[in-house]
Each structure stands twice: as C-alpha cells, then as structure tokens.
C-alpha cells in the first residue's frame, strides 16, 4: 500500500520498475526509453549541479523531478535533451539501439512559452517540421491537428502577443507534439500560470499523454502538481543536486478532477511533501 520505494541515500535505481538491466528476450517496448547512468555535471564556475544521478524511464511512464531550486532537475532535463553534455556518466537510449538520441524523438516545453513573437501561431507550431525541411503544404495537416488537440485551431493566424499566458503555453505544447515525439520533456511549464489555468493544462497534458502514448519527464517544484500527474516522482536535493527518494504513485493513469479531492491523492501529497521536506533539510545541511 505504501507507495514509497526503498530509497538509499545515494543510489536512485532503487525501485523494482527501474530495475537492473533488461533481458534480451524482453520486447523492445518494455525497455526503458532513456537511461541516465551515474550522470554528474559540474558547471564552469565549479558548482556541482548534479551528482551521480541514475534514472530509467520506461515507455508511457510519467516521471516528475521534484525538488528545491538548485537541485539540478532542470540540468538533468537539459542533459537528456542533449543541450549540454554531462561531465561524467552516460545517457542511453535502449530502444534506438544506439547511444545517440533518436532524431525528432524528443519534444521540449520550456518554463516560458518561448515563442517567436514575429511569427504567427501557425508558423511557431510548424517550426520543428520546417527545420526538418518540410514545406508549408506538407506540414499544414499536422500543424492544424496539433492546434486542434490544444483547442487553438481558431488562432492559427494570431500572433503570440495577442494570446493569454495559458494560450501561449498551449501553443508551446502544440509545437512540442507536432513532430510526434516519443518522449516529452517539460521544464516547469506551468510555473508562471495561475492555478485555474494550471489545473486545466494539467488535465490537457494527461489527456494528450493518453492520446499519443507519450512518455513524459516533468520538472516541477509543486508537490500537488507532481502527484496529480505522475506515475513516479523523483525527489531531489540541492548542493549538490542528487536524487534522495522516489515515490511511486500507484493510482489509475486516467485521472480527472475527482482525483484531486480523493483520500488517495491527499495521502500521496503527504508522502511526497515529507520526502520534499527531507530533501530541503538535506540541502540546508550541506550548505552549512
């Protein structure tokens, strides 16, 4: 019943699901989408941003990285995305059969909408396809489908400045899904939004995840958001950034607003809050 995975103080590969390696007999889809193997990252100013982080993410999992600022959660996400190499350790892509990340396999949503203000919503969403060399005509159908799935098909010709914060974030999500990625990386995407908008977008993400069969790695500093969305929460501490606990959320994948008021949700929030509290005090202790 208790969802906390046995977590060592340094090791993170502690749960059964992210277990040790995989059989040759195992079908490819059962293999992890991405494996972090003892990743460390030292910034040029000498800060140890990440220390010995290991993490396997399986297909269709929704993994949240939760922790105080400076715990390296965004750094980890960027390393997975290939934006900056780790100082030591490896990122493996077992399903692609190589250590190179598969082309177009990743969608990334930043904390800010990160839209090009001079381009229309349509052209912003089309960007990944355009960069891959597709013409406007070739990409029209997929761009419109992506816009429809976030409910913005009527705003294709609008400019970003004409949209609200939540709508801009939806455009950003549409852009991430248009290349049909296997793995979606989200770096505190809703941190700047009001709670009502955030709840709506949480539901959108869960719905889209089901529809497209995404695997998601989600960086957040909100306990409630991580519990609502995730199948697994990786709690991290700062200075140096490291994993200190994993919480497996053993609730049905299909969730709606009723989950927010359930006793199960409350229990997971409490467990996760306690884990986060440990992470914060661990961070402070190391600072002293």
């Amino acid at each position: 019943m208790t969802p906390i995975a046995p977590a060592g103080s340094t090791a993170s590969q502690s749960t059964d699901i992210s277990g040790s390696g995989f059989d040759e007999a195992e079908p490819a889809s059962q293999r992890p989408v991405v494996c972090l193997q003892s990743i460390s990252k030292v910034f040029s100013n000498g800060t140890l941003a990440l220390q010995d982080m290991s993490l396997d993410v399986r297909q269709r999992e929704f993994v949240s990285l939760l922790g105080p600022s400076g715990c390296g959660k965004s750094t980890a996400l960027r390393i997975i995305a290939g934006l900056g190499a780790p100082t030591s350790g490896n990122v493996d892509w077992p399903q692609s059969g190589t250590d190179r990340k598969p082309q177009n396999a990743i969608g990334f949503v930043f904390q800010e909408p990160t839209l090009m203000p001079w381009a229309t919503v349509f052209d912003n969403v089309r960007l990944p396809l355009r960069l891959a060399g597709q013409s406007k005509r070739q990409s029209r159908e997929r761009v419109m489908e992506a816009l429809e799935s976030v409910g913005l098909e009527d705003f294709a010709r609008a400019y970003p400045r004409e949209l609200s914060g939540g709508m801009k974030m939806r455009v950003s999500i549409a852009r991430a899904l248009v290349p049909r990625p296997q793995l979606l990386l989200m770096d505190e995407p809703f941190a700047a939004l009001d709670e009502i908008t955030r709840f709506k977008l949480n539901n959108d993400i869960l719905r889209l995840k089901e529809k497209y069969g995404w695997t998601v790695i989600f960086v957040t500093h909100s306990v409630f958001e991580s519990v609502y969305l995730s199948s697994r929460i990786v709690v991290m501490a700062a200075r140096p950034g490291r994993v200190i606990k994993e919480v497996t959320v053993d609730a049905p994948v299909a969730r709606d607003e009723s989950f927010r008021t359930s006793a199960q949700y409350a229990a997971y929030c409490r467990t996760t809050s306690e884990a986060l509290h440990d992470a914060i005090s661990a961070s402070h202790r190391d600072m002293a």
């Binding site: 995305a81 930043f110 203000p117 990944p128 891959a132």
Partner: protein
C-alpha cells in the same frame, strides 16, 4: 468583441483628438512663421540679415532651377551611402556574430572609425578618393555605417537563449538559425540602426561637402548654402536650409514608416497599448 461600436460621445471625442493631432502642429508652424514675419516687419530688419518668410518663399520658387539639381545630388549621396552602410553594416554584423575571434579582430577598427570626427578625416579622404563625389560618399557611408553595425551586432547577440536551445534541439543548421531566428529577432535593432543611420547619412553628406568645398556643376545643397552665404543672398540660404530640413524630415518619416510596417504586428514598440 462586444464593444465594436463605441458610444456616440466617445466617437465625437476621438474624432476631435484625431483632428487636433494634425491641426496642432500646423497651427504652431503658422504661428512661428507669423512671429518671424512680425519681428522682421516691426524691427525693419534688412533682408541680407534676416529675410521675411515671403522672400524665402519667393526664393524657393525662383531659385528652384539652381537648388533642385543640388538637392538631387545631396539626396543621391545620402541614399547611396545609406544603402551601402546597410549592406556593409548588416553583413559585418553577421560575420562578427559567427565568432567572438572575428569580433575581437574587427570591432576595434569599427570603433576607431566611429570616434574619429568625420570633418577631421574628410581632407584625407578627399586626397585619396578618385573623385569628390566618391569622397563625399565615403564620408557619409562611414558615419551611417557604425550605428547600423553596432545595433545589428547587439540584435544578433540578444536572441532569446531558450529559442536558441529550441533550434539546437530540433537540429537546426547554422543557416536556418540565422535566417529563421537571428535575423527576424534583430529586426527592432536593425530598424533603430536604420533610423539613426538615415539621419546621420544626410548630416554627413552635408558636412563632407562643407569640408570639400566643391563648386560648379554637380555640387550639392551644402555648397549652394555656403555660396549663398558668401553672396549675402540670405533668402536663398534659408530656402536651401528649408529644403535640407525637408529632406531630413522625409528620411525620418520614411524610416519610421518602414519600422512601423515591419513591427506593427508583433513588437511592443509598434503596438497600441490597450488598457
């Protein structure tokens, strides 16, 4: 959009505001001209010291055959210099933005050219250039070039880092990043450079012509201005001055219009604030 039609009162007010927008500057201009006229008339100032507005207007009409070709010469130098400065400034900014080593090697020379007063190097340029026209062109180019270069360099460097990351993530080539991201993102900076450079090109063309002191056929408005001063033909001097000012205003208006057209859909500077 429920408030498509504002209440009639608001419509009247906004119509008055748009009439005032045009009427006020015109009224001020008329007032200034009237004051000028009045002072000349009351104090009986002779025309070789301060001509009345009607004399200047008459000179503008009568001397048009002399002044107009001179204006064309000045305008041609100004716009050719501006065009060259735009091409050169943008091209060099792109080269500089590709590598900090190139910037380190080239940028000091751009700064040296900028900080050296153009009047001081004009004599040298006049000696080395094959013709006076070329010398004037070089002077105007040098002055217009730097604001375009420095603004454009700043613009290319100021691209949102997250957008750069995004382009990297989707495997964009250097050329794609330049054409689809860096150049569009630098538009506001480019247009600032254009507005400053446009005004400076005209000023530099005039200053260089003063320094050159060219006479006869093919000379610009600045020479006509000097010539009028030597001959105490003050009405013509004022007429030439008005034409120069008009040209400056036209360049400012043109560059502002280009700026507005390029930015009106997306940039904060060109969009009306709605509160």
């Amino acid at each position: 959009m429920a408030d498509d039609a504002p209440p009639p009162q608001a419509a009247t007010v906004s119509r008055w505001i748009s009439i005032l927008r045009i009427a006020l500057p015109i009224a001020m201009l008329l007032l200034a001209v009237a004051a000028w006229w009045l002072i000349v008339w009351v104090k009986e100032i002779p025309p070789y010291i301060m001509p009345a507005p009607n004399l200047v207007a008459r000179s503008l009409v009568n001397d048009w055959p002399t002044l107009y070709p001179a204006l064309l010469v000045t305008v041609k130098i100004t716009f050719t210099a501006l065009a060259l400065a735009l091409i050169g400034g943008v091209a060099l900014a792109i080269v500089i933005s590709q590598s900090s080593w190139i910037e380190l090697a080239l940028y000091p020379y751009a700064v040296i050219l900028q900080v050296t007063p153009i009047v001081a190097i004009a004599p040298l340029i006049l000696i080395y250039a094959p013709s006076t026209q070329t010398a004037l062109l070089i002077c105007a180019f040098l002055v217009a070039f730097f604001p375009i270069l420095s603004n454009m360099t700043q613009g290319l460097k100021s691209v949102d880092h997250n957008l750069l990351n995004l382009y990297e993530l989707y495997g964009a080539s250097r050329l794609q990043t330049l054409l689809l991201l860096k150049l569009p993102a630098s538009q506001p900076y480019f247009l600032t450079g254009l507005r400053i450079g446009g005004g400076l090109a005209l000023i530099a063309a005039v200053v260089a012509e003063f320094a050159a002191g060219t006479a006869g056929e093919g000379s610009g408005l600045a020479f006509r201005l000097l010539e009028s001063q030597y001959r105490m033909n003050l009405p013509r001097l004022f007429a030439a001055l008005i034409m120069l000012t008009g040209t400056g205003i036209a360049i400012f208006g043109l560059t502002s219009l280009i700026s507005h057209l390029m930015l009106r859909r997306w940039h904060e500077s060109a969009v009306t604030r709605e509160n």
